[in-house]
Amino acid sequence: MTSNRLSGPLPDVSGDAGYVTHPERVGFFTDTSVCIGCKACEVACKEWNGLPDPDGDALTLTGMSYDNTSALGSNAWRHVAFIEQAVPAKQVAAPEETDLIAAVADDSAGDLGATRWLMSSDVCKHCTHAACLDVCPTGALVRTEFGTVIVQPDVCNGCAYCVSACPFGVIDRREDDGRAWKCTMCYDRLRGGLEPACAKACPTDSIQFGPLDELRAIAQTRLDDLHEAGTTEARLYGADPDDGIGGAGAFFLLLDEPQVYGLPPDPVVTTQDMPAMWRRAGVAAAMLAAGVAVAFAGRRG
């Protein structure tokens, strides 16, 4: 039994899953600072994977900026988030009383504020310690030789445990077909030596695909460059093997707090607490048996 099987850094996920020989672990680095919100990734993903639209809600308007996909789900394996933020006014010598209308009309009053547009293409994180995989009772969810996590649709019986276990709210069950679905990182394309459809379609290289170690190095360089250029709010998300999921196979460069993008601030794989949880259930079971014994102790009647 190797260490760190439930949490913490795990350098060889595929080896840990039983692959004696396997290719390098691959992943996505999604650099949201160059995302232009074109949604080519969403379209390419749906096209390549043949994702259905059973409810016919592909044309629903949500009112959430340009985001009409709403969230990742069983039929949306890439999701571009759009966030419109009012950024603070540049510091100008404020007059005693500010007449907003006059100030807007008068350029000399300075920049009273602008809108910053954040866009980010979200995807399954392919966690090092994947809760969905841990809790799957049928073995339908498996680790691939590439270190990614996929559902085998011919095995899944739709118990929906993975849906509640995922700390990112990624995987979901299709109600018409009864099974759980999520991003496969285009397992079929990987097997054929191709990059995933979303990365292939991305026109700005916001979505980069490659060996995870290389991506982490690229991301660190990019982060340093942005910090040097004064974009101090830039941060990496999911890149740290010491985080609550042992590092993500798909990680991000964000320009604000994760929750602004609909991401959990500090997710932890729920199975990290597994041994303690089983211990407590055992103690409670013993207590139950003892309770019955006490109730039946003593002389009859």
Partner: protein
């Protein structure tokens, strides 16, 4: 007039207020009914074995029959939760300690088989030796079936369930004892009062544990604890808080009164069912508003310090 540079930042910034996690796909009444029936089946089997060992025939019969019936009923509810019920047996193609549902499927299969064998022998009188042995074995699987469901819920990212990981197994154990005691009281209500005494004691012990665990749970959870106090979950938890002690009081009088025995059975059963619905409903409530996920992670409250 001094101008505020910008609107003060909200306590919880989120993506259009949308949930971060997916709402559980498990539904009512299936999952809470399974939680109740699993607990009832497990604790009843133990009660049946203890009664058989101490020569209490009527309670032994009641425990064995209830253990088998509730196990079968729970299995039906569990299977009906699946998106592909016809693939239920896929649960038994692996055994994974990291999956409480995998472990639970094996425990449920073993326990239901044993409880059914014991009950069949009890009813038909065939192979009494094997039936008795199955009954004793079901007293081993029973407590596990009654408490593993606490791990089943806790081993999720759902804040109300995961953060209650310390309390849920004990809450369910107490609730299961109260349920089995109630079943024992109902089954022996027409017989002589002394036959009911152990079931009454079991009911009182169970209700006390259930009540203590529930009170502790709501206090220990911080912000997330309010999901057990508000909305549909709050209604159920408050109902259980009155039903359990009322049932326990009635159970104290049950050995001397048939009316009290029937009342205790009804109150305790209602309390145990309410507890399961309350716990179940707190889960979706803690996901629907992203503030619970954000607060517990940002404050370093999840996981809570050991």
């Amino acid at each position: 007039m001094t101008e505020q540079p910008q609107v003060p930042e909200a306590d919880f910034r989120s993506y259009y207020g949308r949930p971060i996690l997916k709402l559980p796909r498990w539904k009512e009444p299936h999952l809470p009914a399974y939680l109740y029936l699993g607990g009832l089946s497990g604790a009843s089997a133990v009660m049946g074995a203890a009664a058989a060992a101490t020569g209490r025939r009527s309670l032994a019969r009641a425990g064995r029959l209830t253990g088998a019936a509730a196990g079968a009923g729970g299995t039906v509810f569990l299977i009906s939760e699946l998106g592909r019920p016809e693939r239920f047996l896929n649960m038994l193609r692996v055994a994974k300690p990291t999956s409480p549902m995998s472990m639970g499927a094996w425990v449920l299969a073993a326990h239901s088989s044993l409880a059914s064998a014991a009950a069949a022998s009890e009813v038909t009188g065939v192979l009494p030796g094997l039936g008795a042995a199955a009954g004793v074995a079901s007293a081993v699987t029973g407590p596990i079936l009654a408490t593993y469901t606490g791990v089943l819920l806790a081993d999720t990212a759902v804040p109300a369930w995961h953060e209650a990981q310390r309390e849920l197994p004990f809450l369910f154990a107490g609730s299961a004892m109260a349920s089995a005691g109630a079943a024992g009281l109902a089954a022996t209500a027409l017989g002589p009062g002394r036959d009911r005494a152990p079931a009454a004691r079991l009911a009182v012990i169970g209700a006390a544990v259930e009540l203590a665990a529930a009170l502790h749970l709501e206090r220990a959870l911080g912000l997330t604890g309010e999901t057990y106090q508000q909305g549909g979950a709050g209604q159920m938890m408050r109902a259980a808080r009155w039903l359990a002690p009322a049932g326990a009081l009635a159970a104290l009088a049950a050995p001397r009164s048939r009316v009290a025995a029937v009342a205790a059975a009804g109150l305790l059963t209602a309390g145990a069912v309410a507890t399961r619905f309350g716990v179940f409903r707190a889960g979706p409530a803690s996901v629907a508003d992203p503030k619970y996920v954000i607060a517990s992670q940002r404050d370093g409250a999840a996981p809570r310090p050991r």
